[in-house]
């Protein structure tokens, strides 16, 4: 089986609103695949269709080689964007419950729940109620509930949101661990740095339509190179840079794109006069830049064709 997931011409409408429009996508087995897009772009609807919570209006979805996702439900793991736990249940109990719902037998599920929680640093919480946990811990418990049955395909909707840096690292390691075990991981995120760090493939949806999809290298190929700048001083001055085409100013660092005719060396010289440069690096565009630019381009296209979605 080559692809863990394929979508072909998938469309989903809610009344007059089109959430996903003619989406075609292939997710190779054993990769980490990032789903990018603004809020309301159609990521969650896509994921829900993959999980057979929604049925597509048109198009075909094949999950783990099955045309009917319902049939392989027990081999999938899903962490939704809206994360909740039964507050009154104990940690080990709820993780085991998720396992049992996926068809694990009682004793195996109980045993594995305790083992997983202990391995990911929640050993002291096994018999505590979920309501006593912090948000980050709760999220960890949920992810463990998602993977307890060792699913072949794991889909995580916004797994990093609301986590502190330490727990983000734990989450990242967990995703990498799963890849190492040969599983396929799909996750959606707004954090471009996460996508850039760990994804083999990324795709982006904007207003229900697929904008791009492929490996990170493929996505970045053919785009203009940008200047990565770390600086101290007044960032407002940067807007005056001769030959500037686009600027992503973060306050202490910035990503600068020049018009094709402008020379980066000239720009460096100009910058040295205006701010204290700590790093100057000419390289391919960041995913962040690609994201923002894609949104811009898509909006412009929509405006010129004058048609809404």
């Amino acid at each position: 089986m080559e692809h863990a997931l394929t979508l072909h011409g998938v469309t989903k409408r809610f009344g007059s609103f089109t959430a996903v429009s003619d989406l075609t996508l292939e997710v190779p087995t054993g990769c980490i695949y990032g789903f990018l897009g603004q809020n309301g772009a159609g990521k969650t609807t896509t994921i829900r269709m993959v999980m057979s919570i929604f049925r597509p209006d048109t198009g075909r979805i094949s999950v783990l080689g099955h045309p009917d996702a319902e049939a392989v439900k027990d081999r999938l793991g899903y962490l939704p964007e809206e994360k909740g736990l039964y507050k009154k249940m104990r940690t080990a109990e709820i993780v085991a419950y998720f396992g049992k719902l996926k068809g694990m037998d009682r004793s195996t599920a109980d045993l594995r729940a305790r083992e997983l929680l202990t391995r990911y640093g929640l050993g002291d919480w096994l018999d505590k109620r979920c309501e006593a946990m912090s948000k980050g811990m709760g999220q960890k418990v949920q992810v463990l509930g998602t993977i307890i049955h060792e699913p072949d395909l794991v889909i995580l909707d916004e797994p990093f949101s609301g986590l502190d840096p330490v727990n983000r690292d734990v989450m990242r390691d967990l995703i990498l661990d799963m890849k190492r075990m040969g599983r396929t991981v799909i996750f959606s995120t707004h954090g471009m740095e996460h996508a850039e760090q760990i994804c083999d493939y990324v795709m982006m949806i904007h207003k229900s339509r697929l904008q791009f999809a492929g490996t990170l290298a493929e996505v970045k190929r053919g785009r203009d190179r940008g200047i990565q700048l770390d600086y101290d001083g007044d960032g407002a001055a940067l807007t005056g840079l001769p030959g500037l085409s686009r600027l992503n100013d973060h306050g202490k660092s910035a990503e600068i794109f020049l018009r094709p005719d402008a020379d980066p060396q000239q720009a460096l010289r100009w910058l040295l006069d205006k701010v204290a440069v700590r790093r100057f690096d000419v390289r391919e565009a960041s995913l962040h830049e690609i994201f923002v630019r894609t949104v811009d381009e898509a909006e412009r296209r929509l405006a010129t064709t004058g048609k809404e979605r």
Binding site: E70, Y78, P80, E82, K83, G84, L101
Partner: protein, 488 residues
């Protein structure tokens, strides 16, 4: 697949049953009920003994006799006491015989009252409840500090005491009751409690009647013959055109079904609302979507419905245990002959058929209303939103409540028959008509219709649940919800 439904139901059940609140809730109801009964009994006991006085214009003989007759209480209370007085030879012949149902005949009643009037009132009072008379005690004008002896003076002074609240009431007995009773008076400023007046009047009437019979020279036997009360022997008809004596255990008090319906109503509404709350909470908990990645919406809904059903059944079962325990103790405590809903229900509880039909109608009624409420719960995000949508359901549920007493009295009337065939009312109405009882074909027909409706409602609820459970934002309008029914 069914296994997952079971897992959901089991979790739902355990979560509820493991909480302390659940058990406190279960035990608090019987405790509260017992407390209520206890308090009302206590209040009865704590009622103050009221003082009354008598001015006998005829010299005092009538006063003494009236006091005795009044103390003898009402005939039924006396009859019960006579049943216990096995050794008194004067009562021989009054115990056996009697009416078909063990009630006294008119003749026996008169004899018992005659006997009771000859007894010492305080001794009689020890034997049992004599009715209203024990709440009142006679005090003479002298004991009240009235010095005057002229009747007009005495009356004036007594009136002052009544006005001041020192005295509850006083009677003025006429001088010549054989001729006229027009000068009899009852003076009191309390207009609500007329037990004293009525009891005393009844006692006086009996005395005056006896005296007039004697005065007219009518033999006591003839008098008794004339005064005999008619008691119809109670029979029931059978298919062969014959009749048999109605056995006491076959007589279901009209209040018993009413009590059952009330209990059924409370149980169905209570448990189904639990489901509604639970669904809305779970939706706002955001846990639904995780569950939906493992189970289908249909399985989740069924699991919830059955899990909560098991919870509710546990609650009802414990209450039934309490009720059964009470069924054997309370009637003795209250006296079986006493009326009222509670005694009626307890009597009927000793008849197993009631429990079975209660269990069936509880389950069926619950499933029907659960399907509706779970769909509403799935469509709403907060309980407040849900309240708007549940309003029509609650209005519908008011109908069996309002018709409860009426149907109890007319179990085979047109209204009862029509309501039986409307599935939303079937459980309540059929339970309500148990005293009738309805024909077998009615039981079968309405049950089939009810079960079909449950099945259809469940299917519709499943569709609403599937769409609604992941909806957030504004609550959907009724029109939209109906639109979901046409989808998929």
């Amino acid at each position: 697949m069914a296994n997952k439904t079971l897992l959901v139901a089991q979790r739902e059940y355990l979560e509820n049953v493991r909480t302390k609140t659940f058990w406190i809730g279960i035990f608090i109801v019987p405790v509260l009920l017992a407390g209520l009964v206890g308090v009302s009994v206590l209040l009865q006991k704590l009622r103050e003994v009221q003082r009354y006085s008598v001015v006998d214009l005829g010299g005092g003989e009538l006063m003494a006799r009236a006091e005795r007759e009044f103390r003898a209480g009402d005939a039924r209370a006396m009859w019960r006491i006579a049943q216990q007085m096995k050794d008194d030879p004067a009562l021989a012949g009054m115990r056996q015989g009697g009416g078909a149902d063990g009630e006294p005949t008119g003749e026996q009643m008169t004899a018992v009252l005659d006997w009771a009037a000859r007894q010492d009132p305080t001794e009689l009072a020890k034997l049992g409840d004599l009715g209203a008379s024990k709440r009142f005690t006679l005090v003479s004008p002298q004991e009240l500090g009235v010095i005057a002896t002229a009747p007009e003076e005495v009356q004036r002074e007594l009136s002052q005491r009544v006005h001041k609240g020192e005295l509850f009431a006083y009677f003025v007995l006429g001088a010549d009751p054989d001729t006229t009773v027009d000068d009899f008076r009852y003076v009191s400023n309390n207009f609500t409690d007329d037990a004293l007046r009525r009891g005393y009047e009844a006692a006086l009437t009996r005395i005056v009647q006896r005296d007039r019979i004697t005065a007219a020279g009518i033999a006591p036997k003839v008098a008794a013959h004339i005064q005999q009360q008619v008691a119809c022997k109670q029979l029931q008809a059978d298919s062969a055109g014959g009749t048999t004596v109605v056995k006491k255990e076959n007589v279901v008090d009209q209040w018993a079904p009413v009590g059952f319906v009330y209990f059924l109503w409370m149980a169905i509404l209570g448990v189904a609302s639990m489901l509604l709350t639970n669904t809305v909470e779970e939706k706002s908990n955001r846990i639904i979507e995780v569950l939906l990645s493992s189970v289908s919406p249909g399985q989740l809904m069924q699991g919830k419905i059955w899990g909560i059903a098991a919870t509710g059944m546990t609650m009802v079962f414990v209450w039934i245990l309490f009720a059964l325990a009470a069924a054997w103790t309370v009637p003795q405590l209250l006296g079986m002959s006493g009326g009222g809903v509670i005694v009626g229900v307890f009597k009927a509880l000793q008849n197993g058929g009631y429990l079975l039909s209660f269990a069936f109608y509880f389950l069926a009624g619950y499933l029907l209303y659960a399907a509706i409420l779970v769909a509403i719960g799935a469509a709403c995000n907060t309980l407040k939103e849900a309240q708007n949508l549940t309003q029509p359901v609650m209005m519908t549920l008011m109908i069996p409540m309002l018709s409860m007493v009426f149907i109890g009295q007319e179990p085979n009337g047109t209204v009862a028959k029509v309501l039986s065939w409307i599935p939303f009312f079937t459980p309540f109405t059929m339970m309500n008509r148990a005293g009738g009882p309805p024909a077998t074909w009615e039981y079968v027909g309405t049950s089939v219709l009810l079960l079909v409706t449950i099945w259809l409602t469940m299917r519709a609820a499943g569709k609403i649940f599937r769409v609604g459970v992941l909806m957030t934002g504004n609550p959907p309008k009724l029109k939209e919800i109906l639109g979901w029914l046409r989808q998929s």
